[in-house]
């Protein structure tokens, strides 16, 4: 049987998660097809074709898919699912949104946030905000998984897959797109950056995040935040790192004015190197930090920016 990987993209670019999920799919030892569903997809398809290991790129290009609504995406993927034993999507907000509908339409369970594939029917996933790791075996006829991209290495980009056009178009009768407010940033994406500088409640307000930007600029880093900083309105929701925000594993994570609640750690503790800057030497973040610096962030950050 074959594996179908749902491609993450914004109708313009293929997102890095896709190559990582294809990387994960290699462990299944089966041919891999990638589905690109959206609107005006030329550029995305060109990028997807290059993914190594991929045999076919299925392209569903229609205005009806431009907002990637769950209802018709699920019908589309369900309609294609017959020849696949495994259907994988990255555990992004898009994947989490539509894939459970596919599983229900196929009458099989879904495994969410898979971090390791042990065999074609045995998968590893975190539970309790990553405080326990479950190994789960499935006897279902089909395996439907969202995959935590940060846990896998990306596949290379030297393939040349065949393109197959999918003609059937499904519509969402009961839901429609109204608007989007997407955060524009020149910085690398939080989920793709090798350096992330995050601020918490200790930053005190949104303006002070400029201090983090100064450091991030020097390191070509992305900016993240704790839930407390997002809830307080310092920064937008898409910057939240944690159990219910983004789950990332950069080479270097610098936590500034963040106490280190388990829900925050769930989103960043797989980082290669963690640095914590906090004025409270008892803060739990120091228990996971490779390098801790106790002190006032308002003194430390300008000095750090200058010294880099």
């Amino acid at each position: 049987m074959r594996t179908l990987v749902f491609a993450e993209h914004d109708n313009q670019h293929l997102k890095g998660e896709t190559a990582k999920v294809v990387g994960a799919a290699q462990a299944l030892n089966a041919p891999v097809d990638v589905l690109v569903a959206g609107y005006n997809l030329e550029a995305v398809v060109a990028e997807a074709k290059k993914l190594s290991y991929v045999e076919r790129v299925l392209v569903a290009d229609a205005a009806e898919y431009s907002a990637q609504l769950a209802e018709n995406l699920a019908l589309l993927v369900h309609s294609l699912s017959g020849e696949y034993s495994h259907v994988l999507a990255p555990a992004t907000t898009t994947g989490k949104n539509f894939l459970p509908r596919v599983a229900a339409l196929c009458d099989v369970p879904q495994l969410s946030d898979v971090i390791a594939i042990e065999s074609s029917d045995t998968f590893v996933r975190p539970i309790y905000a990553g405080n326990a790791i479950a190994t789960v075996q499935s006897s279902a006829i089909k395996h439907i998984l969202t995959v935590r991209a940060s846990a896998f290495d990306a596949i290379e980009h030297n393939g040349n897959a065949d393109v197959v056009v999918i003609d059937s178009v499904f519509i969402s009768e009961n839901s429609s797109f109204i608007s989007a407010e997407l955060t524009e940033s020149e910085r690398p994406e939080l989920t793709a950056a090798s350096v992330v500088v995050s601020g918490g409640r200790g930053m005190q307000n949104g303006e002070n995040f400029a201090l983090l930007e100064g450091v991030a600029d020097k390191l070509n880093g992305a900016i993240g935040a704790s839930r407390a900083a997002v809830d307080a309105g310092f920064v937008p929701n898409d910057m939240q790192v944690g159990q219910t925000g983004k789950i990332i594993a950069p080479d270097l994570y610098i936590a500034v004015g963040i106490s280190g609640a388990i829900q925050h750690l769930a989103g960043m503790k797989e980082s290669k190197i963690i640095v914590a800057i906090n004025k409270d030497e008892e803060a739990p973040i120091f228990q996971v930090a490779d390098y801790g610096l106790v002190g006032d962030l308002f003194e430390i950050l300008p000095e750090l920016e200058k010294s880099l």
């Binding site: 907000t93 989490k96 949104n97 459970p100 309790y128 905000a129 190994t135 963690i274 930090a289």
Partner: protein, 250 residues
């Protein structure tokens, strides 16, 4: 209009959980249990919609042993009107839960079903979406804003790139994100009053669902622990370590 809110009893979010010695499950003996935080947000949203006058009845439902009645009573104390307890001793997967909820949806015909986006034990983030597929209802997951508009719902969702707003025809499913609202606390008089609110009990066999998960947990292990590293004295030492020891910056 009627709102249905399915809720789940889970380990309280403040509990630091441990894996049992046999490495087969998380040890749930003598730990504090509570309503899943995202379900609390769902209950709160339903009550707020009722307070605006747009909704006339809020029904809560939970599946599990008789212990889940505690969380149903909490929801009644917060302002729900009526509760349904579906008795089940088995561990259900999200698909089975969605099948049970489909039965409840068919029986109650709610205009809106509000669920938490995920439970903090299994972290699955599936049930609302699966219920949507089984009932053919539209959905808006990860909601941070919900209001009635033009005979339907407008829902703003927290997505990876920022925010997205959808229009849904009714009946519709909403799953809650953290910033949708801040749940209230139950007051003592309301806790007393909740004891007299109607609570119906059914057996899972009565709803026509035979739990049958094809998933078997073969092992539960603790995560690899990160060791605490060292404290550095100043910025210069930090930069030196990052450059020369960790080699993560140039």
């Amino acid at each position: 209009m009627k709102v249905l809110v399915p809720i789940k009893r889970v380990v309280d979010y403040n509990v630091k959980i441990k894996v049992n010695n046999e490495q087969t499950a998380v040890d749930l003996n003598n730990v504090k249990m509570s309503m899943n935080p995202f379900c609390e947000i769902a209950v709160e949203e339903a009550i707020r919609l009722k307070e605006t006058g747009a909704v006339s009845e809020v029904v809560v439902v939970s599946i599990g042993s008789s212990e889940v009645v505690e969380q149903l009573r909490t929801a009644l104390a917060l302002g729900a009107d009526r509760a349904i307890h579906i008795n089940s001793f088995e561990q259900l997967d999200s698909l089975d839960v969605a099948k049970v909820l489909k039965y409840v949806v068919e029986k109650e015909s709610p205009d809106v079903v509000i669920l938490g986006k995920q439970a903090i034990d299994s972290d699955n983030n599936q049930t609302g979406q699966m219920l949507g597929a089984l009932t053919g209802m539209s959905q808006a997951t990860f909601a941070s804003k919900v209001f009635f508009q033009d005979g339907g719902l407008h829902v703003t969702r927290e997505v990876d790139g920022g925010l997205q707003t959808l229009a849904l025809k009714l009946p519709a499913i909403v799953t809650t994100d953290l910033r949708l609202n801040e749940p209230r606390y139950a007051t003592l008089p309301n806790i007393m009053k909740a004891k007299r609110k109607p609570l119906e009990s059914l057996d899972i066999a009565d709803v026509g669902v035979t739990p049958h998960s094809s998933l078997t947990v073969i092992k539960v292990s603790p995560p690899t622990q990160r060791k605490a590293g060292i404290k550095v004295d100043n910025v210069a030492e930090l930069i030196d370590k990052l450059k020369n020891e960790a080699k993560v910056i140039a």
